[in-house]
Symmetry: C2
Subunit: 407 residues, 2 copies
């Protein structure tokens, strides 16, 4: 029997206990031994819960118990998750976490401590919920130079954008619906402003390059400025708007950003709807792969944690080399990155098109009925170019970065 | 430096040499050592090729050289691949293969020999080309009871079906095009009759259940009876027809089949087109995941082989427990499995619908203009039920299994 401790008995933590119980036979077979929960650390009591007897309030009980082989961190936040995880690794215990904030902020240090103490620090569940992505990057794609990772990494914003696209809802109304269904928090900022996606793409970029990524260096723009009018144009064009976290790696140059992007039907992420996540990975030999699944949710996320538990416990004395080193990756400024632009302009296309093309060059025009505006789709230009040009054109109401060949 | 030998210098074998050379730095970093090709076994000579000096014609040179840590089998077929792989494992060398026929026929024995000799027998490239699927099943999904694996596993047939769907081509003309492009062989039977898909779903089913699967027990039907007329109905209904290899695992009961299936737009595999592959995996905790990518091709497949090389060489003395045991899995007969059925019937719907519904119960009717026939979509029924009922209805021209809720 291998004993683990779960820190934080919320949604994910209780999900881990549930998966371990419901699938205990297959897990024992894969891990080579039964896996039992010895302690659950939480401030609360859980009378009547199957874990009732295992609840402890003092981390040092876990830290000092040599029978605890592995600690599962599902508390979220940085404090006390960070000191507790650090102490667990130093005590020679494997750690698995679902906490993207922790991994994005302290991953480098925690990976180093794990290496020094010959244990594992795993975080499959921190990105893409139940979608296998961290492990495929360091195993299945081990022979690849990764050139691009682009993901729909946040289920809440993808639900909101899907509602806006399919039901014509406004951002505010779609957000309220997401909150009513429990998909969005009362304070939705971390999701809708792109901060959650930013931490996830930072972790994926560090995995892909092998170097530390400071998430603060990644240009991040959320979805709060996307409107139902944008989606009326998108529908007319057969396109959609998705919140991307993306890294493009070319010749030592890394561009990374979080922003809404307009894509066409032929994009592999086009049909990733609702709370689902999708992650596209482009390798120099492999071409494009795509991973799709439940990006959040109690049991899918818990299942990813359990995969980490099995990997750590089956090769008990084996440190799995993965992650990244201390060298901080330079992220190129977004100013030098190129996109096509979807731009909505006040006025009548017929009257203003000459003026628009004098600024942006040849564009494709999209008009809707009964509007006092029109939209154009420019050729690709750098962010800097766009900013300079846009200043010369009065009446721009919206600009969304676009990635597709033809309308 | 770790030395490997490549057996078979065809498309995949030369691809492996190319990936090892082009990505040598990232591979050395991940494997913890440089990886060099010491021998290439082939009957032919390759004057002017970078591997020219490494060509050998005698397997025993590889077998007897203690410097060769790992053997890559990319010859295809069973003979001499089978005896050579067996001898390599017995000589204490790791083996990776891209050969699905070998794995489907002799996987059980080769996995046992690998275990006994504490080496690894890996075969990521045997299913789904470059798509990571074998490894995710035994690592990322280690905590799951897998309930379903359904895949578009053969690029050739998917290319043909895509041409038929998008360009209205007949089967014969789409097949000729696939042959002209080199996607289909002169003798296309293994692809179009579903034999290739059958071996792949057998391997995936064995991975998912941990037990040996005899591919001969899997009901297998190819795409040769699918016509352009079927696709005209599919277009009218907003559906498509794909060749599925599928296993459904429920309470110890395993149904497996290879057959064309009509699916709707909401199916995760609906938009897997051309030579791409897609594999859907349903776990009891995880829900549905989908893996998408290049199912064939020189470099993507070689990249999957290189991932096996890195995993074997980085944990050099470490046997990775994976695969299946000797217990032969009972595959339930397809007769007891249920599908909805798309059925084309001779005559005029208005006149014959009463007769059709007396046989099949309530159906949805689909009519095209200027046809001497119509189609219906039945409720779900077992294969056996369908067969018995179909006998009572004269003039059935086609039946395609269907999996979708509404038309």
């Amino acid at each position: 029997m291998k004993n683990i401790a779960i820190m934080g008995y919320g949604t994910i933590g209780s999900g881990v206990a549930e998966v371990l119980e419901r699938n205990k036979e297959v897990i024992a077979k894969k891990a080579g031994d039964m896996v039992g929960v010895k302690y659950v650390l939480d401030l609360r009591e859980f009378p009547g819960d199957p874990m009732e007897d295992k609840i402890v309030h003092d981390f040092s009980i876990i830290e000092k118990d040599p029978e605890v082989s592995m600690v599962i961190e599902t508390m979220g936040g940085l404090n006390p998750a960070y000191p507790f995880v650090k102490a667990s690794l130093k005590a020679g215990k494997h750690v698995a976490t679902s906490n993207k904030a922790l991994v994005a902020a302290y991953g480098t240090e925690l990976l180093e401590i794990a290496r020094e103490h010959h244990v594992n620090f795993f975080f499959e569940a921190s990105v893409g919920g139940g979608i296998p992505i961290i492990r495929p990057i360091y195993t299945s794609l081990a022979g690849e130079e990764i050139e691009e990772i682009t993901g729909i990494l946040n289920g809440t914003t993808n639900f909101i954008l899907t509602k806006m696209a399919k039901a014509g809802e406004s951002f505010e109304s779609a957000l309220r619906e997401a909150q009513a269904l429990g998909y969005a928090e009362r304070n939705p900022e971390a999701d809708v402003e792109g901060h959650d996606t930013c931490r996830k793409i930072a972790i994926l970029t560090a995995m892909a390059t092998g170097h530390e990524v400071s998430y603060e260096h990644i240009y991040t723009e959320g979805i709060t400025r996307i409107t139902d009018v944008d989606f009326r144009y998108a529908e007319a064009m057969g396109t959609s708007v998705k919140l991307f976290g993306s890294s493009r790696i070319q010749g030592g140059n890394v561009h990374a950003f979080v922003a809404p992007v307009m894509i066409g039907k032929d994009h592999p992420l086009y049909s990733v709807d609702d709370v689902y996540n999708g992650i596209l990975v482009k390798g120099n030999m492999l071409g494009t792969s795509m991973f799709y699944g439940s990006g959040a949710g109690k049991l899918p996320t818990a299942s990813a944690v359990v995969a980490d538990i099995v990997e750590a416990l089956k090769a008990f004395d084996h440190h799995v080399e993965m992650g990244w080193d201390r060298e901080n990756l330079t992220i190129s400024p977004i100013d030098s990155f190129s996109f096509r632009c979807f731009v909505r302009v006040k006025g009548i296309a017929e009257k203003r098109i000459k003026e628009v093309e004098e600024v942006f060059g040849k564009v494709d025009v999209v008009e809707l009925d009964h509007m006092d505006e029109f939209a154009v789709l420019t050729k690709a230009m750098t962010e800097e170019e766009y900013r300079l040009k846009a200043k010369q054109l009065p009446g721009i109401r919206q600009r969304i970065r676009a990635e597709f060949e033809t309308v």
